[in-house]
Amino acid sequence: MSVAAQVVHTHSKVEPAVAFDVERIRADFPILRERVYGHPLVYLDNAATSQKPDAVIQAMLEYYRHDNANIHRGVHLLSQRATNAYEAARSAVHAFLHSELASEVVFVRGATEAINLVAQTYGRVHVGPGDEVLITAMEHHSNIVPWQILCEEKGATLSVAPIDDRGEVVLDEVQKLLHPRTKIVSITHVSNALGTVNPVREMIRMAHEAKAVVLVDGAQAVPHLRVDVQDLDCDFYVFSGHKIYGPTGIGVLYGKAALLDQMPPYQGGGEMISSVTFEKTVYNKVPHKFEAGTPDIGGVVGLGAAIAYISAQGVDAIGMHEHALLMYGMEKLSAIQGVRIVGTAREKAAVISFVMDGIHPHDIGTILDQEGVAVRTGHHCAQPVMDRFGIPATVRASFALYNTEEEIDALARCIKKVKEVLG
């Protein structure tokens, strides 16, 4: 073991194969060699979607070139290979989330579909007139609208726990809003617009005391944090593959086996059945009960490769690197006169949302783009968060394992240019 590797080892619970070397990691991502308007690409829109390493691109390519077949049917060799690849990815997610069983992992299109699945199955059975669903004021639209649809259908109420000026959820208010009619609590682990890391373990404990089940939206958490669903004791946990260096169109619903077993199916079709006659259909067991139709097998293979890639780097090592970038970025951007950071929670993931005096985020985004710096501008599918802070939009820079301090310097330099052009 090299000296550098030993140093990492002392800081990390996992053992990365080699020391965290951002230049080596950057070499794994072919898109980072793109040039934008003649400038090197500075990709700081990772909370929207992350870039894909060669390992993921190659795994999907190899699957389609060598193994492609439908799964769980057919006795031929390719079908067996495709099935093995698909189920190996399920095992990888099972290990990644530290679930008790691999069968607690359901493949879906993404976090959005996972939330809709829970709302339309568990929700429709367990939420009735006068009941309540509790969310927080920092949720993404995908963790608001499915519950609004459910509540409207059932005559239930959607209640919202407020956030404070730092962008932290107010736990006392959560406690007050929890009562015997609260059937479901659905909360984000990390806010996409503010970067806030919620104290979900504590919130889950509070919700369970009130006998509510808890769904955690982990879309923004899994790229940055080690997640252990058994330790959290959440009932459902959802995330999207494309935010953790996997392909778009594939995601995960984790659910406790006891809950998934009793839930009705979401969609009917092939794969999700044991037997079908015109009189009666017997549903397949979980997770297959929730995977009607031929799934995105290539996407699942890509997701499995992405998880293997992250695990090889070490989730904790990635988290440390990103935290250092966050600290550096917060300091750099706060030092620029006229820049105001929105979202200053004490526990924060690698997301910096900001506004500038008298300059609209959209104009900032265009000028940064011309310099090769990709950021997100807008409401980030979290309009209630924008309303809470009395702003129409923010600029959001979000970091990944391949970002560097030099890229944050480039961002800061370009923000100064924005002031020159528009100030």
Partner: protein, 146 residues
């Protein structure tokens, strides 16, 4: 390659900072709301007609420099125009900012020609125009650029 100066011209920045006709008409004959759901920009346009002629036109809302300047200069360009002239100008403006050739001389509005090099900003430039169009047609439903 398009240059930033193509869109952030002096006259555009000046209108963005101090938009003209940025107010609510006391007694508008027609009014419409518009929004760009992608960036959260909002715009309302109110129009007072004198027979077939736009006697007064004003806008309000929040948005980027491009959308504010575009709304401001639109109100200046349309005052005194007939409904038909306004519609023709809207068509020509859209044609110009999307890089088409089928438009006549745009006068002062020509400063927005550079938008065609920035496709993601076309909606910013046209939001007020779409809203004006809805106002002239007595649109009850808010218009959206999506």
């Amino acid at each position: 390659m398009s240059d930033l100066r193509d869109i952030y011209q002096e006259v555009i920045l000046e209108h963005a900072k101090a938009p003209r006709n940025f107010r609510e008409l006391v007694d508008p004959h027609q009014k419409a709301e518009g929004s760009n759901p992608l960036c959260g920009d909002r715009c309302s346009v109110s129009v007072a007609m004198d027979a077939a002629v736009i006697k007064d036109i004003a806008f309000q809302g929040s948005g980027c420099a491009i959308s504010r300047a575009s709304a401001s200069m639109m109100t200046q360009a349309l005052k005194g125009k007939t409904k038909e002239e306004a519609e023709r100008l809207f068509h020509d403006f859209q044609e110009m900012v999307t890089g088409g050739n089928g438009h006549s001389d745009m006068g002062k509005l020509q400063v927005f020609a550079g938008i065609s090099g920035f496709p993601t900003r076309v909606k910013c430039a046209t939001l007020a125009w779409h809203t004006m169009h809805a106002a002239l047609h007595g649109g009850r439903e808010p218009v959206s650029t999506e």
